[in-house]
Amino acid sequence: MQLTYLEAIRQGIWEEMDRDPSVFCLGEDIGIYGGAFKVTDGFIDRFGPERVIDTPIAESAIVGAAFGASLTGMRPVAEFQFMDFIGCAFNQISNMVAKTHYLWGAPAPLVLRGPSGGYVHGGPFHSQNPEMWFVHNPGLKVICPATPYDAKGLIKAAIRDNNPCIFFEHKYLYRRIKGEVPAEDYVVPIGKANIVREGRDLSIITYAAMVHTALEAAEVLKNDGIDLEILDLRTVSPLDREAIAQTVKKTNKVIILHEHSRTGGLAGEIAAIINEEAFDDLDGPIVRIAGLDSAIPFSPPQEEHYLPKVSDVVREARRLKAY
């Protein structure tokens, strides 16, 4: 069945709520309205207001309540209207939720999910990619799917996982891409990357919407005789170190591509992993393509300049190929 990225997530949560009575949803405007992006549209009619809870605008309370409920063996799925607002709950996530299992041995099976990412002219508070705030927090799993198949399989895996999972849904992809999603139950394992395009000349390591940017660039570069390999990380914490090393060992040249700001971004961490796992296999510098070191601006020409583009990937790939 062909589903949009959004429908795939929606179906994944729906099926888990159908399957497991301990799963419930909470968040702002998720009930009768169905959520700002309609991910939970129709849920309240099916599952009732007890399990589809509209909350006050209070992100620390949403996370705190989800965490508390998880301690009683529930599996809450909390929505952030925009992932930008997760900053309001940062202390609760970083100091309460993430440290729980390590410090006092209590599992916290909860999912915090919502839309992130740019390319929709949402401005500085509706376009951010705040995943790195949580990658630097041991105890959290951070998931950023790129396709409808992965989005459904990973949201189901996150709900079934015994650990706190933060699930970033790329809002540019919500209704722009469709993909084949099987009717039967499946999960995609957390922490496993996926080669979405095999190639021999150069590897792009990326995730979420940038996977599609890389795929477009690969089509352009094909005409230059440059054969790109694209590794979709799918989970950004924990990272699939083995898959990262494998692709570098195969192509010997690597570009790391992400939307969020360059400094302190995921590319730095991946570059360090490559140094540790595959330094001798490199035939050129590790190249980073990332957002600018500023807030993400509102006006379309500015936003376009801020964010990585197909032309950036094409340019950098040609430069790196020449090594």
Partner: protein, 435 residues
């Protein structure tokens, strides 16, 4: 320079002209109120703290706190409990003694260099910690704050658990990974571990009640916040969430006058923190936090409300932190007469007097035997704690995630019985925020 600037206002008060505790009403006072806050106290201390400038012998100016009010007011009696019988009162009294003597032992362990980091005390607050936790039923949950070490004892943890936490021992509840009362138990004793950041436990405990309700149980969830900690935004979020969802939160606001070195006058300007309950639309009450009977009765009323599914309660317990923030802090900033005033209101001495002299529920001999027994228990617990090994360096590793079957997750009070509507899964094409 900054001191000079504040000089003119410092004479009046630290934060405007607030009057507290009933000496005189503010302009917008009670006459316009359409509500009231039940107040179970048998006295209403009128002390207030303000900044003032003192000159030393060299003429240099120093900003100090001074206390004003009736510092010679007579000590109030203990209010008879509506619910507690003789046996229960004696049991709470015993927990209060255990609490205090455990903290004395911790102070000694610190002086012997056996404690890693500092020691936090609940001196003067034992009635509030012990009698509040005593009001919970077995299936209820709680989360202490740093000074509620007595609550842990009431809920069945051993003194050696807390002592080993302070000494960072391998056998401590967190196996050395955290100290103080920062541990929890979701299996037996239904305790959420506190974190150092204040207020975050309030929505968490509300979530515990939400989880239980989804499983068909109305439970009480008790936690604490100080007059300092309640300044945090998450306190508001948590209480409001419990109010909107009608969850059985029992929140003790422990007004103990000092938040580290800052007096309550510089934390808030309403008369009593219990008044905040009005803004949340929930019941609020005031009790004397040094009177175990008052604390218990208010807590029990709130717990029973929670069990009936009637929602949260805010209980403000008025008392005084009788030591510094932690062991390193001599609390030199606290005006001495304030300590003297509250020392006369010591919760244990007054409860002892009530049980032995007033009620005659304990003979002098029984009382001294009980005290001796508590001392024996604490000494034995101290031995256990001291003899526990330190953790190995390598035990710092692992356990970040719940994996490889280390925990089975299942609803604690039974699988939720779900009602499913007739809605079926239909694809949506609705208008959405940001196409």
């Amino acid at each position: 320079m900054a001191i000079k600037k504040t000089k003119s206002t410092a004479k009046h008060s630290s934060n405007g002209n607030r009057r507290r505790n009933g000496t005189s009403q503010p302009k917008s006072g009670n006459s316009s109120r359409t509500y009231s806050i039940p107040d179970f106290r048998l006295e209403h201390p009128d002390l207030s703290v303000r900044q003032t400038i003192e000159k030393d012998k060299d003429g240099a100016e120093h900003v100090r706190y001074e206390v004003t009010g009736n510092l010679n007011a007579p000590v109030p009696p203990i209010r008879d409990s509506t619910y507690l019988d003789k046996k229960q009162c004696v049991e709470i009294y015993r927990y209060m003694l255990l609490n205090r003597k455990m903290e004395v032992a911790l102070e000694n362990l610190y002086k012997q260099g056996k404690v890693v980091g500092g020691v936090y005390f609940g001196l003067g607050q034992e009635a509030c910690s012990c009698a509040s936790a005593y009001a919970l039923d077995k299936d209820d949950w709680f989360a202490p704050m740093i000074r509620n070490q007595g609550s842990l004892l009431v809920r069945g943890f051993r003194a050696s658990d807390t002592m080993m936490q302070y000494m960072a021992k391998a056998n401590s509840p967190t196996h050395g990974r955290d100290g103080t009362s920062h541990f929890g138990d979701i299996e037996k004793r239904n305790m959420v571990s506190p974190i150092s950041m204040l207020g975050d436990l309030i929505p968490v405990l509300s979530g515990v009640a939400l989880g239980a309700r989804l499983q068909g149980r109305n439970i009480a969830v008790m936690t604490y916040i100080g007059d300092g900690g309640q300044s945090t935004g998450v306190t508001y979020e948590g209480i409001n969430f419990a109010a909107v969802q009608n969850l059985g939160l029992v929140l003790f606001v422990e007004s103990n006058e000092w938040a580290y070195s800052t007096p309550s006058e510089m934390q808030y300007v309403c008369k009593d923190l219990a008044e905040r309950a009005i803004g949340y639309g929930i019941p609020g009450v005031i009790v004397d936090g040094t009177d175990a009977c008052q604390v218990y009765d208010a807590a029990r009323d709130a717990v029973e409300r929670a069990h009936r599914g009637e929602g949260p309660t805010l209980i403000e317990a008025k008392m005084m932190r009788m030591k510094g923030h932690a062991i390193h802090d001599a609390a030199a900033y606290v005006p001495k007469p304030m300590f003297e005033f509250w020392k006369k209101r010591d919760p244990i001495a007054r409860f002892e007097n009530y049980l032995v002299k007033e009620k005659k529920w304990l003979t002098a001999k029984e009382n001294s035997e009980l005290i001796a027994d508590v001392e024996r228990v604490i000494e034995a617990e101290r031995e256990i704690a001291v003899n526990s090994p330190m953790p190995t360096p390598e035990s710092a590793e692992g356990g970040v995630f719940c994996e490889n079957g280390c925990h089975e997750i299942k609803p604690k009070y039974g699988m939720p019985r779900v009602k499913k509507g007739t809605g079926s899964f239909k694809q949506t094409e609705a208008a959405a925020h940001l196409k």
